[in-house]
């Protein structure tokens, strides 16, 4: 067989294989369309027959017909599947033969020829290619750019309220909806006895000595918001009633010892750590904890130290999927909770604010937008009457918010032109009206708790403001390291006095008995006359203070960073009443109730008392 024969053979094979491929692919295509167009198992005939069977369920002949058709349909289905499979193998084989034949054909036909100057003129080619590249590049960019004009950002058009309204409207109007048990929470908070649980699984039939179950009698009255006296009787927020660091509880032990357990009534371990301080209402103590994955609020029986309930702050609309980055010494659970005896409110570094009733039922939750805060959000919550105040001074937008305690809706929102802050708001009763007082770089300012209107503002702070202001003796005290300590009259916004000898970095000042106390992070405790600002005494010995000084039982309590507690008399001369060691690093502020002091160190909660 010579070359030309081979060529002819190859070309013939190629033609045959090509026709074969074409036919097979055509058949496959037909099969494909047949499969997609009609589903033999759901044919109309079948449907109508089944419908008929529904009407005449005993028709045996009809049943036979259905079964027959069913069998046919199934057969057809599997046959066509077989066809597809076999067809694709045939096609592959045909294509292989076709390709081989063509290759042989062309390799036999082609001869090595000396190419003459078929080469393009390089210079010309390059110039042409530059033109095309330019055109192509510009074309791609312009086309994409033009396409962007046809696209509209619908995400921006979305507002949460719209859907809320729609959901409410969708409820059936003919049905009266009654909330069961919404009125019981208030009763629980007030008349709370020690909460014993029914001992689980005692096998005895007659459990006569078993403790009574937790029963709450329902009261029909609407929940009453606490008045100032009730707030003072409890420890509802960061640094106690109104955030001023003064508690009226008595019989607080001045000495105890952590390592040996002296005067330590109980120690409880919390599931997760956090830098927030305990708050107390009745017999319930609340703290929160967080890590990057989850955030939780804990309710603890303050008599036994038992965790009554743990609730996760999850599934909050708008909450970020990944927690914002925070520094280790702030974390996501730095802000202290607030409770009004009806509900407990918590805010986390994710911007989630959540409210539970005293039984741990979630009342509302929302996200205020993830705070842009390079250490982590740390401003605690405080409330008065039906409003919960949130100081939301972040790197991106600063504002003071008042939320409705029952629903979480924003009552008012006051934008502030200040810088970021880590201080917490306090409340001050100025001339019978409550003001929310905030300390930030560069101003200290007071806002009407009712309307959110700014009443006064004083410049003078700078840098990263950590200490919260304090109110007492009719004056507001605010301080920040590298800035100043100033006393401001909140009635007119005038600075009464200023001093900058000792300045606090983290711990907030406290006012009592005509004196103001200041604790610095480098370990100096100072006492000033509140009215004049003259220094009365100082104590310079200690590793430093992060925990704020607090007043209870007419004494000044302060924990240093090593967990050593010093108790001073509230006198114009230095008088140390006692010194104790907890044996744990403390940076939170203690809470007081009924002869007991509660302090948190990371995941451990101590109850100190006799």
């Amino acid at each position: 067989m010579n070359d030309s024969d081979k060529i002819r053979l190859a070309s013939n094979v190629a033609v045959v294989a090509g026709i074969f491929c074409a036919v097979v692919s055509l058949l496959l295509l037909l099969n494909f369309f047949q499969l997609t167009k009609s589903d033999p198992l759901e044919s109309e005939v079948m449907q109508s027959m089944i419908e008929r069977l529904g009407r005449e369920p005993q028709n045996a002949e009809l049943k036979q017909d259905i079964r027959h058709l069913d069998l046919l349909a199934r057969k057809a289905y599997f046959t066509s599947q077989w066809q597809v499979n076999t067809g694709s193998y045939l096609l592959l084989f045909g294509a292989l033969v076709f390709a081989l034949a063509l290759r042989v054909y062309f390799s036999l036909k082609s001869r090595i020829e000396i190419p003459d100057q078929i080469v393009e003129n390089e210079l010309k080619a390059r110039i042409l290619s530059q033109k095309w590249l330019l055109a192509g590049g510009v074309f791609v960019l312009v086309l994409t750019f033009a396409a962007t004009f046809a696209t509209k950002d619908y995400l921006k058009m979305y507002h949460v309220d719209e859907t809320l309204v729609a959901d409410v409207a969708s409820a059936d109007p003919g049905i009266e909806v009654i909330e069961v048990g919404s009125e019981t929470a208030a009763a629980l908070s007030g008349a709370e006895t020690s909460s014993e649980e029914v001992p689980a699984a005692t096998a005895e039939v007659a459990a006569s000595d078993a403790a009574p179950a937790q029963v709450a009698e329902a009261v029909t009255a609407a929940p009453a918001l606490p008045d100032a006296a009730q707030i003072r009787a409890n420890f509802p927020s960061f640094r106690g009633p109104f955030g001023n660091g003064v508690s009226g509880h008595r019989n607080i032990p001045v000495d105890f010892d952590g390592p040996s357990g002296k005067n330590i009534l109980w120690k409880a371990t919390l599931p997760m750590s956090g830098y927030n301080s305990p708050v107390i209402w009745g017999n319930r103590l609340f703290v929160s904890g967080a890590n990057a994955q989850k955030r939780e609020v804990y309710c603890i029986d303050r008599n036994s130290g038992k965790i009554l309930w743990t609730r996760a702050a999850d599934n909050i609309p708008g909450s970020p999927a990944t927690a914002p980055r925070t520094t280790e010494d702030t974390g996501l659970a730095a802000p202290t909770l607030y409770t009004d005896g009806i509900r407990v409110y918590a805010i986390f570094g994710t911007g989630d604010v959540i409210a539970f009733d005293m039984e741990g039922n979630r009342v509302w939750a929302r996200n205020l937008g993830v705070p842009d805060n390079h250490y982590g959000h740390s401003s605690s919550l405080i409330g008065w009457k039906d409003k919960l105040f949130v100081q939301y001074d972040t790197n991106r937008g600063q504002k003071l918010l008042a939320l409705n305690v029952a629903t979480g809706e924003t009552v008012w929102e006051t934008p502030r032109s200040v810088k970021i802050s880590w201080a917490s708001p306090i409340l001050a009763n100025v001339g019978g009206k409550y003001q929310v007082i905030l300390a930030t770089d560069p101003t200290v300012a007071g806002y009407d708790a009712e309307t959110g209107k700014e009443l006064w503002s004083v410049r003078g702070l700078m840098g990263e403001v950590g200490p919260s202001p304090a109110f007492g003796e009719g004056l507001v005290f605010a301080t920040q390291e590298y800035a100043t300590l100033m006393a401001i009259n909140p009635a007119n916004g005038q600075i009464v006095w200023k001093d900058d000898e000792y300045l606090s970095e983290v711990a907030s000042p406290v006012v009592a008995n005509g004196m103001v106390f200041l604790a610095t992070s480098y370990g100096v405790l100072v006492c000033y006359d509140a009215k004049t600002g003259s220094k009365l005494w100082e104590h310079d010995d200690g590793p430093g203070y992060y925990s704020s000084p607090v007043v209870a039982d007419n004494k000044l309590f302060i924990f240093d960073l090593d967990g050593r507690l010093q108790v001073y008399a509230l006198e114009r001369e230095k008088k140390l009443l006692g010194e104790s060691n907890l044996g744990a690093k403390i940076s939170s502020t203690p809470a007081f109730a009924d002869g007991r002091m509660y302090v948190r160190a990371g995941t451990t909660l101590y109850c100190i008392g006799k």
Binding site: V177, V180, G181, V198, V205, A206, A213, V215, A216, E217
Partner: protein, 320 residues
């Protein structure tokens, strides 16, 4: 040989095809643009109910502070509802009377004049009406699932879904009898309970009825466990029961008519004690898609209450 121009045209056509296929697929294959399901199991027809057949209307909803209501009963016109780790007593006006926290996860509840019986998976907890625990009956096997309780004059009947039998206890927790519903002449196979739904109830005349969900039957037994009569639903439409485990719950109206609650296609219906279909209380469209089945109870006014776990509320239906 092939013409060069032909090759170029061929190539251009191919390029267009490639671009068209990629762009077309990319643009078309988007959520909401995809074809609907050719294999869909369309249960819509089954869920259709003739409006004529609906003889009740929903009048009130009691929103519960409970994640998942499990069991419910009505005694003295007070609603006893269990769920989470709670037992709540609610008036028929929706006011919370009492809340008892339970140290276990409750299944169902039954109340008589002196006691409240709450079942857990494998035990019965007895409380007095103030919520004080009186006793705990633990003599059940580890393989029990106590899904129903009924009381009558000192007798406590307990349905065990897992072991497929009914126990009779005295009020003081003494077990007197257990029966599997098997009859000698093999008229029925005994209780067939494919899932956790196995309910029983006693009407005002003292007749014990037990649901046999595997047979779509309601069976009447003597207190000694002898089958007295039964009925099954023979219909494939709304008049009968569908699925594998229905009726999941049932209760009696004053006068003896039965209210049944079904899973799968969620619906509540009324039957005469003879098994004759009366009408629909709540049609499937009232419930959430793929929702959970509701326990049912009725009060002295003949109102029907359904504890809907999906809506976390007790739904009240009144006869039109």
């Amino acid at each position: 040989m092939m013409n060069k121009k032909g090759i170029y045209i061929f190539l251009i056509i191919l390029a267009v095809i490639i671009v068209a296929v990629i762009a077309g697929d990319f643009a078309r294959n988007r959520p909401g643009k995809r074809p609907s399901n050719p294999f869909e199991y369309n249960m819509g027809d089954l869920k259709k109910v003739d409006p004529e057949q609906i003889i009740y209307r929903e009048t009130r909803n009691f929103k519960l502070k409970m994640e998942e209501p499990a069991g419910m009963t009505i005694f003295n016109d007070q609603i006893y509802v269990t769920g989470d780790q709670l037992l709540q007593v609610i008036t028929t006006e929706g006011r919370l009377v009492r809340e008892i926290s339970l140290p276990f996860k409750p299944l169902t509840v039954e109340v008589n004049t002196s006691r409240i019986f709450v079942s857990a998976r494998e035990s019965i907890h007895v409380y007095d009406h103030d919520g004080n625990p009186l006793a705990e009956w633990t003599g059940f096997t580890g393989n029990s699932y106590l899904s129903g309780i009924a009381t009558y004059e000192g007798n406590v009947f307990i349905a065990d879904a897992a072991r497929r039998r009914v126990y009779r206890f005295t009020e003081d927790g003494e077990k007197e009898l257990e029966f599997e519903g098997k009859v000698s002449d093999d008229a029925l196979h005994g209780f067939i309970v494919p899932s956790g739904c196995f309910d029983l109830a006693i009407n005002e005349f003292g007749d014990l009825w037990v649901a046999n969900p595997g047979k779509h039957a309601l069976e009447n037994y003597t207190f000694n466990g002898i089958l007295r009569g039964y009925w099954t639903s023979q219909f494939s439409d709304v008049k009968g029961f569908t699925g594998c485990c229905n009726p999941a719950f049932f209760t009696f109206l004053p006068g003896g008519n039965m209210i049944t609650s079904e899973k799968g296609i969620l619906r509540i219906k009324e039957y005469k004690p003879s098994g004759e279909f009366v009408g629909v209380v709540a049609e499937p469209s009232r419930f959430m898609e793929d929702g959970k089945v509701s326990d049912v109870a009725s009060d002295s006014q003949g109102r029907v209450y359904a504890a809907d776990p999906d809506k976390k509320s007790i739904r009240v239906f009144e006869k039109i």
